[in-house]
C-alpha cells in the first residue's frame, strides 16, 4: 500500500529533479518549468502531510490541515507563474534569446 | 524691556519664532508655488516674488533677533535664557530644547544680519532658478539658527545637518566651473565627520543612561548631574580579567574630528579653498558662516564641555594645529593670485586664531575667541562680498588683472581698505579685541604658541595689505579697469550694514564683552565641575539595583 513515506519520497524526488534542472539547464523556459516542478513537489508533500495528520487533527482539534495549506500554495504558484512569465516574455523580447546566460542584468 | 509690543506668546517663544521664520517663509512660498502649479497651471511664483518675500522673511528674523532676543537678554544673567522646552520623544529623552546665552547671542545676531545681506547682494548675480536659491538660503538660515540655539545634542546635530544640505546645493547648482567636484567634496568630507560624531553621540547617549538611569541628550542638566559621556568603561572578560576602555579620548576625538573638519582646522582644511572658489559669492559668505557656527561653536559648546579631561590632554596638539593653521593660512594666502582663494586662506588663519583662544581654556582666551568669531563673521562676509563686486564687474578674480582700482572706484577701495585692516586686527576695529584677548589668554598657557600666533598675524596682515596694494593702489594699468563703476547705493548699504558693527565692536566693545563674560564663566565652571567626575563604570555586571549607587569614582584620571 501507499504509505506516507512513499508520498514524501515522491515529493523529495520531484523537488530534487526540479532543483537540478533549475540549476543546470540553459533554456529560460525550462528553468521556469523546473521551478514549477519544485513547487509541485511542495504541494504533494503538503497533501501527504494532510493525510498523515488527519486523525490527530480530529482528536486534538489542532488545525493541521495540509489541504488548506496546499490550496494556498497553488494560489501562490499561480501568481508567481504569472509574474515570472511576464518577466520572461519581456526579457526574451528585449534580447531575442532564451538563453539564461544572456539574462545578466543583475551583473555589476 | 520687552520686545517692543510683541505679544506674550511671541515673547515667550521668541527663539522658536526666530528659528522657524526663515524656513517657514521658504516653505510657505514653496507651498504657494506648488499650489499655483497644480491648480492654475502656472509655472509657480516668479523669482522676484521669491526674492522679495525671502528678503522680507529674513529681515523679519533680523528684527526678531535684534529686538526680541537682544532686547530681552539680561546681561548679568547666568546660564541660558529664553529657554523653551517641549517634549518630542520623551521616552528617549529627546526634547525640543532651545535657549540662548552670551556666547550664542552674538553668533545668532551675526547670522540674522548676514543672511538678508546675502540675499540683497545676490540681486543681480543669480538669474535663473532664483526661487531655488532663495529657498536654499532660507532653509540654511533656519538650520544655522536652530543649531546655535539648540541645547539638545541630537537637535543640534539635526539642525547642523540641515544647514549643510542647502549649502551643498547652493555650491553645486550656482557655482563655477568645478562646482560639482567642490560641492561633492564639501558634503562628503563633512558628512564623514558627522557620521563619526553621530556614532559618538549614540555612545554618549548609552553611557549616559548607564550612568544616571535616564535617557537624555539634553546636555545641560541642572548643575552637572545627569551629564553623560565622561565615563571609562570596564568590560569584564571571562572571569577575572578586566579591560578598561577609556571612552573619553575616543569620544572627544570623534566629536572634535567632525567639528575640526567643519571649522576647518589644519590638516583637514583642503576642501575649503576649493569650495570657496567654486561657490557663488553668496555661497562663500554662507559657507564661512556655517563653518564658524557649526564647527567652532560646536567645538566650544559640546566637545570641550562634555569631555574636559580629554580636551585638556589634547590641548598641546590642538594648540599646535591652531598655530600652524594661522601660519599656513597666512603664508599660502600671500602667494595666491585668485582673490577668493586668498581670502579663503585668510579665513583659515583667522578661524585658527579663534580656536587658539578657545583651546586655551582660559577666561580671556575663550572670550577673545568668541569675539574673534563674531568679528570674523563680519569681516569675512565683507571680504567675500567685495570680491564678489569685483567678480561681477570684471568677470575675473585674478589679481594680475586688477590694480589701481582706487581711481575709478574710490568708495570700494576705501571699504576694502577698512575691511582688510579689520581682518588684520587693528584697534578701533572689531578684530583687535579678540586678537588681544586671545594672545593674552594663550600666552599664559604656552608662550611659544602665542608668539607663533603673533608672527602668523603679522604675516596675515602683510598678505592682506599686499593684496590691497595690488588690487586698489598703484596706477591703473589695464584699460578694462578704467571705466569701472563704483558701488551703487544698494551695495553701499550692504557694506555699511557690515561696517557699522565692525566699528562698534572695535570702539565700544564693553557691552559685548559684558554679555559674553558670564556665559563663558559658566562654561568654564561646567568644565571644571565635570573634570572631577570621571567615574568608572562596569558594564554587563550591573544589576538593576546597582544603578542606585554603582559608580566607583576614580580619581587622578588625566586631571
Amino acid at each position: 500500500m501507499i504509505t506516507h513515506d512513499h508520498v514524501l519520497a515522491l515529493s523529495a524526488l520531484l523537488f530534487c529533479a526540479g532543483a537540478v534542472g533549475a540549476l543546470l539547464r540553459r533554456n529560460l523556459i525550462v528553468v521556469l518549468m523546473c521551478i514549477e516542478l519544485m513547487f509541485a513537489a511542495v504541494v504533494v508533500a503538503l497533501v501527504g502531510f494532510d493525510r498523515m495528520w488527519a486523525a490527530r487533527a480530529v482528536a486534538d482539534s489542532v488545525p493541521m490541515e495540509g489541504r488548506v495549506f496546499a490550496m494556498i500554495g497553488i494560489a501562490v504558484v499561480a501568481a508567481q507563474l504569472a509574474v515570472g512569465l511576464a518577466i520572461l516574455v519581456s526579457l526574451v523580447r528585449n534580447r531575442d534569446s532564451m538563453d539564461i546566460e544572456d539574462a545578466r542584468l543583475l551583473r555589476w | 524691556m520687552g520686545g517692543a509690543g510683541m505679544g506674550p506668546y511671541v515673547e515667550g517663544h521668541v527663539l522658536s519664532w526666530l528659528i522657524f521664520i526663515p524656513g517657514g517663509t521658504a516653505l510657505f512660498l514653496l507651498a504657494v508655488s506648488v499650489a499655483l502649479r497644480i491648480f492654475f497651471g502656472a509655472s509657480g511664483l516668479p523669482g522676484v516674488v521669491w526674492r522679495a518675500i525671502g528678503l522680507g522673511g529674513s529681515g523679519l528674523a533680523l528684527l526678531v533677533a535684534g529686538v526680541g532676543v537682544l532686547g530681552q537678554f539680561d546681561p548679568e544673567g547666568i546660564g541660558h535664557q529664553m529657554v523653551e522646552r517641549a517634549p518630542w520623544l520623551p521616552g528617549y529623552g529627546i526634547h525640543y530644547f532651545v535657549g540662548v546665552d552670551g556666547i550664542s547671542l552674538f553668533l545668532v545676531l551675526l547670522t540674522a544680519l548676514v543672511v538678508p545681506l546675502v540675499l540683497l547682494a545676490s540681486w543681480n548675480q543669480v538669474e535663473r532658478d532664483l526661487a531655488s536659491f532663495v529657498l536654499f538660503v532660507l532653509l540654511l538660515e533656519t538650520g544655522l539658527l536652530g543649531a546655535l540655539l539648540s541645547l539638545n545634542l541630537l537637535q543640534f546635530y539635526a539642525f547642523a545637518e540641515l544647514s549643510f544640505v542647502p549649502l551643498w546645493l547652493i555650491v553645486g547648482v550656482f557655482g563655477g566651473a568645478g562646482r560639482i567636484r567642490a560641492s561633492t567634496r564639501l558634503i562628503l568630507y563633512s558628512a564623514a565627520g558627522s557620521v563619526v560624531s553621530l556614532v559618538a553621540l549614540l555612545i554618549v547617549y548609552q553611557l549616559g543612561f548607564e550612568q544616571t538611569g535616564v535617557w537624555t541628550l539634553d546636555w545641560i542638566g541642572q548643575a552637572s548631574s545627569g551629564t553623560p559621556g565622561l565615563i571609562d568603561v570596564r568590560i569584564p572578560i571571562a572571569g577575572e580579567d578586566v579591560a578598561v576602555w577609556r571612552t573619553q579620548p575616543w569620544l572627544f576625538a570623534a566629536f572634535a574630528l567632525s567639528f575640526a573638519i567643519r571649522i576647518p582646522m589644519l590638516p583637514l582644511h583642503t576642501w575649503m579653498p576649493e569650495a570657496h572658489v567654486e561657490a557663488p559669492t553668496a555661497g562663500s559668505v554662507l559657507l564661512s558662516l556655517v563653518m564658524l557656527e557649526v564647527g567652532a561653536y560646536g567645538m566650544m559648546r559640546f566637545a570641550l564641555t562634555l569631555f574636559p579631561n580629554a580636551a585638556a590632554d589634547a590641548v598641546p596638539l590642538l594648540f599646535a594645529l591652531a598655530v600652524l593653521g594661522i601660519l599656513h593660512g597666512a603664508l599660502v594666502a600671500m602667494v595666491q593670485r585668485d582673490l577668493k582663494r586668498l581670502v579663503a586662506y585668510a579665513c583659515l588663519a583667522q578661524l585658527s586664531l579663534a580656536m587658539l583662544g578657545v583651546f586655551s581654556l582660559s577666561l580671556h582666551g575663550l572670550i577673545g575667541g568668541v569675539v574673534q568669531l563674531v568679528s570674523f563673521g563680519l569681516t569675512s562676509s565683507a571680504l567675500f562680498l567685495l570680491v564678489g563686486v569685483i567678480e561681477e564687474r570684471r568677470k575675473t578674480r585674478d589679481v594680475s588683472e586688477l590694480g589701481g582700482l582706487a581711481k575709478p572706484m574710490p568708495v570700494f577701495a576705501a571699504i576694502l581698505g577698512v575691511t582688510v585692516m579689520a581682518s588684520a586686527g587693528l584697534p578701533v576695529l572689531s578684530g583687535f579685541v579678540g586678537q588681544l584677548l586671545i594672545l593674552l589668554g594663550s600666552f599664559a598657557v604656552d608662550a611659544r604658541a602665542a608668539l607663533g600666533a603673533g608672527v602668523g598675524l603679522v604675516l596675515l596682515a602683510a598678505a592682506l595689505l599686499w593684496m590691497f596694494q595690488r588690487v586698489a593702489l598703484g596706477p591703473v594699468e589695464k584699460a578694462e579697469n578704467r571705466g569701472l563703476i563704483d558701488l551703487d547705493w544698494r551695495e553701499r548699504s550692504i557694506f555699511l550694514a557690515l561696517l557699522v558693527p565692525i566699528l562698534w565692536i572695535g570702539v565700544h566693545p564693553n557691552p559685548v564683552l559684558r554679555r559674553i563674560e558670564p556665559s563663558v564663566l559658566e562654561l568654564m565652571k561646567q568644565i571644571d565641575e565635570r573634570r572631577d567626575l570621571a567615574p568608572i563604570l562596569t558594564l554587563h555586571d550591573a544589576e538593576p539595583s546597582d544603578l542606585a549607587s554603582p559608580i566607583e569614582t576614580s580619581d587622578g584620571d588625566g586631571v
Binding site: - | T270, P273, V332, A406, L426, L437, L457, L465, L473
Partner: protein, 684 residues
C-alpha cells in the same frame, strides 16, 4: 608713585583733531561733499589750536601742583574682562604728567605749525586736486593718534594710538596712491610697523601676566611702576638650543618694547622702510619724521625707563642699536642724492642718538633731544618741500643748486635749523641735548663696553654734520644744475608757509633755555638760575641711572664740537670751493660709494634672502605640495581612489549576475537553515 589729580578736559586734547579728522573723511567718503579749502583749513586749524591751548592749560595746572603729581582724566571703561586676580581692564583714560606734558605740548604745537604750512603747500600742489581735504583728514587723525599715545593712561590705549600712528602714516605715505612707488612704500612701512606692534603686544601681555602673578594685575602706567618689584626674580628659561639659561622677564619685556620702538623710529633692523617713506607729501614728512613717529618710540622708551633700569641687557642693546643706526644712516645720508631721503636718514641718526641716551641711562637727555629735534627737523623738511615744489617736483640734489638766493628767507630758517641739527653751541638747543647724550654715553654705567659706544657716537656726529651741510650746499648754493628758465620763476613761499618755519626756527634758538646745563649757565656774566629746568621737571617721572650728572664735562663738549666742525668743514670745502672734487672721489672710491649708495645692499639682501624664499616656500611647499599633493591628493583623493579600487577589483565580483548561482546559493542556504533549525529544535 605720582599722586593723581582728576581733570575733566584732557580727553578733548586728542578728541578735537580726532573729530575734525573723522569729519573730513566722512564728508568725502560717505557724503561725497567736498568742503572748500578755506573751510578745511579753518576747521583743522581750529582743532589744533584748541588742542594746543588745552595742553597749555593742562600744563599750567600741572606746574601749580606738587612736584610728583599727574592729571588723570578717566572717561570710562573701554575693555574690561576677567575675574580676580587677572582682571584685564583697559580704560579710556588720559594722563598728563611731566613727560606727557612735554611731548603733548611739542606734538600739539609743532603739529599746528606744520598744519598751517600744509595748508599753503597742499593748495599749491597741483598733483591731486581731490586730495586737499583727504590730506587734512589723515593728518588730523595722525596727530590725534600721536596725542593718544602720549596721553594714554594705560598700555592698551597707548597701543591703540600707536597703531593709529602706523595706520595714518601708511595712508600719508601712500597719499598719492596712484603711484606705484607710494603704494609699495606704504605697504612695506605698514608691515614693518606690524612687526613692531606685535612686539608691543607681547610686551604688554608679559607685563600683565607678571603683575597678575604678583597679585596686582594692571596696565596703568603709574601702577606698573609702583608694582615693579613683581618683576624680581621672575624669569623664563631659554630653550635648550639657545643655551638654556634663564632670562629675567623684565629683560624680555624690555626687548619687546625696544623692538616696537625700533620699528616705529626706523632703527635697525627696521631701517629699510625709511627711504620709501619719503614718498609722502612734504608736510606729512615734516610731521611724521619730525615730531611724531620716532618721537612715539622715544616716548615709549622714556616712559618705561623704570623698566629698563632693571633690565640692563635691554638698555645696553638699545644703546648699541641707537649708535649703530646713527652711524649707518649718517653714512648713508652722505651719499644719498634724494633731498628728502637725506633728511629722513638724518632723522634716523637723531633718533639713534635718542635711543643711545635712554639706553645709556639718561632718558631726560633723550627727551630733551626729542624736543629739539621736533623744532629743527620739520623746518628742514618744510624747506626741502619748498625747494622741491619750486623746482617742479625735483627731488634729486644733483639737479638742484643755486636756489637759495631766490628764497633767502627760507634759506635763513633752514640755516638756523641746520645749526641746531648739527649742534653748534651756544644758542641752539640741538647742541645741548646732544651733548648730554654723549656725556651719558661717556659715563654709561649700565653698559659694560661703553667706550666704543662713545667713539662711534662721535663719528656719527661728524658724519651727520657732513651730510646735512652737504645737503644745504648742494640744494641752495653752487651752480644752477637745472633749466635756467625755472629759476626766474622761483619765489619766496607765501607767508602762510613761511611763518611756521620762522616760528620753529626761533624756537630752535630759544629752546636752549629749557635745557642749559649749569656749567654753561655759569659762563654767562649774569646769573641764570633754573637753567636746566627740563631735567628737574622730568625728575619725578623718569628714572635716570647714569652716573650723576657731572655738571658738564668740558672734554666731552670739546670733542663733540670738534667732531662737528670736522664734519662740517670738509662738506663746505667740497661742495662750495671744490665742487668737482666729490665727483672725483666717487670714481676713485667707486666700490665704497656703490656699497653705501645702495644702502649696503641690505634691502636687496632682505628681498632675496628673506622675502623671496618665504614666498617660494609658501607657494611650492605649503600651497602646492602640502595642500594639493599631500593632503588633497594622497589623503582625501587617495581615500576615494582606494575605495574605488576596492569596489572595482574586489567587491564587484560578488555580483556576477548569474541567476543560477543565486539560485544555488538560495537552496544551499535554505538547506543549512533547515538543518540548523531541526538540530536546535531537537535539542530544546
Amino acid at each position: 608713585m605720582l599722586s593723581e589729580v582728576t581733570s575733566s578736559f584732557l580727553r578733548f586734547i586728542p578728541a578735537l583733531p580726532l573729530l575734525t579728522g573723522v569729519l573730513h573723511l566722512v564728508s568725502i567718503g560717505l557724503l561725497r561733499r567736498r568742503l572748500s579749502a578755506r573751510a578745511v583749513t579753518t576747521i583743522s586749524s581750529a582743532a589744533h589750536t584748541g588742542a594746543l591751548l588745552l595742553s597749555i592749560l593742562a600744563f599750567w595746572e600741572l606746574i601749580a601742583l606738587d612736584d610728583n603729581a599727574a592729571l588723570v582724566d578717566r572717561v570710562g571703561t573701554w575693555i574690561g574682562v576677567g575675574v580676580a586676580p587677572s582682571v584685564f581692564t583697559a580704560d579710556l583714560a588720559f594722563r598728563f604728567d611731566a613727560l606727557s606734558a612735554i611731548f603733548c605740548l611739542v606734538v600739539a604745537g609743532v603739529g599746528l605749525l606744520v598744519q598751517v604750512f600744509a595748508a599753503g603747500y597742499m593748495e599749491a600742489d597741483q598733483r591731486d586736486d581731490r586730495g586737499f581735504q583727504r590730506y587734512f583728514g589723515y593728518s588730523d587723525l595722525f596727530l590725534a593718534s600721536m596725542l593718544i599715545v602720549v596721553l594714554a593712561d594705560n598700555l592698551v590705549l597707548l597701543f591703540l594710538g600707536w597703531v593709529g600712528v602706523g595706520i595714518f602714516s601708511y595712508l600719508l605715505i601712500g597719499f598719492w596712491y596712484a603711484e606705484q612707488v607710494s603704494a609699495r612704500a606704504a605697504t612695506s612701512a605698514f608691515v614693518v610697523g606690524r612687526v613692531g606692534d606685535l612686539a608691543l603686544v607681547i610686551g604688554i601681555v608679559l607685563v600683565f601676566w607678571t603683575l597678575a602673578a604678583a597679585g596686582s594685575a594692571t596696565l596703568r602706567l603709574g601702577e606698573i611702576e609702583a608694582a615693579l618689584q613683581a618683576f624680581d626674580g621672575v624669569s623664563f628659561a631659554l630653550p635648550v638650543w639657545l643655551g638654556g639659561h634663564p632670562i629675567a622677564v623684565a629683560v624680555i619685556a624690555g626687548f619687546c618694547f625696544l623692538i616696537a620702538a625700533c620699528a616705529q623710529a626706523a632703527q635697525l633692523p627696521f631701517l629699510l622702510w625709511l627711504p620709501g617713506s619719503t614718498a609722502a607729501p612734504s608736510p606729512a614728512s615734516a610731521l611724521v619724521h619730525g615730531a611724531c613717529m620716532g618721537a612715539a618710540g622715544v616716548y615709549l622708551l622714556a616712559r618705561l625707563s623704570f623698566l629698563f633700569a632693571i633690565a640692563p641687557e635691554a638698555a645696553a642693546l638699545m644703546a648699541w642699536i641707537g649708535v649703530v643706526t646713527a652711524l649707518l644712516s649718517a653714512g648713508l645720508a652722505c651719499v644719498e642724492t634724494d633731498i628728502k631721503r637725506v633728511l629722513a636718514y638724518s632723522t634716523a641718526t637723531h633718533q639713534g642718538f635718542m635711543f643711545l641716551g635712554v639706553g645709556a641711562g639718561d632718558p631726560t637727555a633723550a627727551v630733551h633731544h626729542a624736543v629739539s629735534h621736533a623744532f629743527f627737523q620739520p623746518v628742514l623738511f618744510m624747506g626741502a618741500g619748498v625747494v622741491i615744489a619750486s623746482l617742479r617736483q625735483e627731488h634729486n640734489l644733483l639737479r638742484m643748486g643755486n636756489v637759495g638766493s631766490r628764497i633767502h628767507l627760507t634759506r635763513i630758517c633752514m640755516w638756523i635749523a641746520l645749526l641746531s641739527s648739527i649742534g653748534v653751541p651756544p644758542f641752539w638747543s640741538g647742541y645741548f641735548s646732544r651733548e648730554q647724550i654723549l656725556v651719558a654715553a661717556h659715563d654709561a654705567l649700565l653698559i659694560p663696553l661703553h667706550a666704543p659706544l662713545y667713539v662711534l657716537a662721535l663719528v656719527a656726529v661728524g658724519l651727520l654734520a657732513f651730510s646735512v651741510v652737504r645737503l644745504m650746499y648742494l640744494a641752495l648754493y653752487g651752480e644752477t644744475r637745472f633749466p635756467g628758465e625755472i629759476r626766474m620763476r622761483i619765489e619766496e613761499p607765501e607767508p602762510i608757509m613761511l611763518r611756521p618755519m620762522a616760528i620753529l626756527a626761533t624756537l630752535c634758538v630759544l629752546g636752549c633755555t629749557i635745557g642749559l646745563p649749569q656749567a654753561w649757565a655759569d659762563l654767562f656774566p649774569f646769573s641764570v638760575k633754573d637753567s636746566d629746568s627740563i631735567r628737574r621737571f622730568l625728575a619725578g617721572v623718569l628714572t635716570t641711572s647714569a652716573v650723576e650728572q657731572s655738571p658738564s664735562s668740558w672734554s666731552v663738549s670739546g670733542q663733540v664740537v670738534g667732531m662737528t666742525v670736522l664734519g662740517a668743514l670738509p662738506a663746505a670745502l667740497l661742495y662750495v670751493f671744490r665742487p668737482e672734487l666729490p665727483q672725483k672721489l666717487e670714481t676713485r672710491f667707486a666700490w665704497l660709494h656703490g656699497l653705501v649708495a645702495n644702502r649696503f645692499y641690505l634691502d636687496v639682501l632682505f628681498e632675496r634672502g628673506i622675502v623671496q624664499p618665504m614666498l617660494t616656500l609658501s607657494d611650492r611647499v605649503l600651497g602646492r605640495w602640502l595642500d594639493q599633493r599631500l593632503i588633497d591628493g594622497v589623503v582625501v583623493d587617495g581615500t576615494a581612489r582606494l575605495l574605488q579600487r576596492l569596489s572595482d577589483r574586489v567587491l564587484k565580483h560578488t555580483e556576477p549576475g548569474t541567476i543560477q548561482l543565486y539560485l544555488a546559493l538560495m537552496l544551499v542556504g535554505g538547506l543549512a537553515m533547515v538543518i540548523w533549525l531541526l538540530r536546535a529544535g531537537g535539542a530544546a
